[in-house]
Amino acid sequence: MPSVAIVDDEEGIRKALSRLLRASGLDAESYANGQEFLDAAAAHRPDCVVLDLHMPGMSGLQVLRKLKAAGQRLSIVVITAHDEPETRERCIDAGACAYLRKPLEDRLLLNAISAAMRSHTAAIRR
């Protein structure tokens, strides 16, 4: 079963997303902030990450940049409740596979997750 990490500072959203992913046959692991996730990801890399952009402390963008700096390539779907004009580009530049606005349609999210995992696998095969 593919594993997906959920990184979001809001417990209600972590719970709702893990339920949704589990109901769709994915294994969900959730983290309340960027640092917690980075620590865990160093030991066990998930197949995909659903990463919230605006979090207190370390933001989603900072997480992306840290991963990039560390040379860690992960399939990451960025989600945000506050969409600003240049944020999408910044996230894609920093290595995100997809950028979705909250609230999240289940099909869009699941498609983005599977597309992210596929493209990542394709990138590894190449």
């Binding site: 959203i13 109901a23 402390g57 506050h82 609230p103």
Partner: protein, 551 residues
Amino acid sequence: MRGVEPGVLWSALAVALGYYLAARLGFAFTLQPHPISTLWPPNALLMAALLLAPSRRWWVLLAAALPAHLMAELQSGVPLAMVLGWFASNCSEALLGAALVRAFVPGALRFDSLRSAGVFLLFGAFVAPLASSFLDAALVKLIGFGEGEYWTLVHMRFSSNVLAELTIVPLIVAWATWRPRDLRDVPPKCLLEIAAVFTGLVAASLIAFDLPVIDANTAPALFYAPLPFLLWAAVRLGVRGTATGLAVMVMMTIWGAVHEMGPFAGGAPQDTARDMQVFLIAVSVPLLLLAVSLEERSKAELDAQEQRLQLTHLSRVAMLGELSGGIAHELNQPLTAILSNAQAAQHFLAGKDLDREELGEILKDIIAADQRAGEVIHRLRALFKKGETHLQPLDANELVREVLTIAHGDLITRAVEAMPDLAAQLPLIEGDRVQLEQVMLNLVMNACDAMSAGGADARRLSIRTRATDSSVQISFADLGPGFRPADYDKLFQPFYTTKPQGLGLGLSISRSIVTAHGGRLWGASSPGRGATFHITLPILDLGPITARPLT
């Protein structure tokens, strides 16, 4: 010519009826065999009607007065030529007065400023009666009705008309804007006060002017018995109350003399009329001016207060506009939880093994998220609302927490870390919750703006609450670039702003809000090392003796 609308017909009818009754009253106020009424109200009534109407309708009102005039005058056996002559002089007085007043006070006359009252006194109550008195006396001499010297006639007409203008015009103009539903807005205390003033006034006037026990030789000081009540009316009841009080006293004074009672009775009719007129004019003018000037001042105060409230609301709404990104974030979060939970439930329901317990949990979370979204909207509505200032006991810590909740979305999306350092326990302060939250929210937003250019680790906002002996202090410290001492005073000036989309009202209005709460708002900064803004608000004194009413 355009058709005459029903409103004009009604006012024409009212003028005709009023004119007729006023003429009857004028006759009743005539000291026989003295030929001229002590107070001749029809001219004044006509002038008041003209002053309230647009000038293009004046001819209708004057025409409406003619049948009333004929009916009243012909009954008393005056020759037709004299009756028509008097109509001409009455109309000329009303027209001249109304036209001159309108020339200097455009629109319907309101006794709402010393200027408008002064213009009325000069043109309506002096120039117009003077001019028409010459005309009137000339017509009397020309037609040969009645006897008396020309100048005596002028003099008698003049004082009668002046007194009438002074008594009738303010009365009608002040009551013209009154509607029966206004009565509902009058607090019972005020009604009681009005009743007290008028009971006192009527009683004093009765004793002074309308009882047979008093005669001219006994108590001239009694003239002044109604004065305290009239002063009371002028100070507390405005122009409407004063004009009514003056009319009551004028009527009662003349009524007494006509019935040979009171201190004015007893002499020759001509002297009695003149004495009363001089006395009543001398009382009316200063009281009317006093009432107008007090009303003007309190209206100016109310206007300023209303303007302040409007400006406060305007700047609050502008600030909420700046917050909108953060608010969208705050609403999207619970909406996300709701949608994803609901869609998860759909997936569970489509699957084979249905976990009822899990479904129950999902529903519980959906309800909680929905309530959270509702709270966001509830808080916003309170801030958007435009209301009167409402003072209540408040806990500054709670205000800070509330403000941080409102600003939560903005703090998160702008990556500002709020570090509240709240005193364990604070004495209560007294204030308007929405306005004080507005001040704090403004300081939080300013701090966020000041730090937006800084790095991620330089975006910390410390908020500290402390109690001193007599006040509570709330401080907001940012890590932005701060401000130069030379710019400090400018910060609090209206329309000074360093933000591209700012109105520049935030700090100036914040300071006026805090000052109105009896507190202080000030800032301190060392350039390059952030700025701190402090609010102090006096502690609410809950002592049993010194407790103040909260309204």
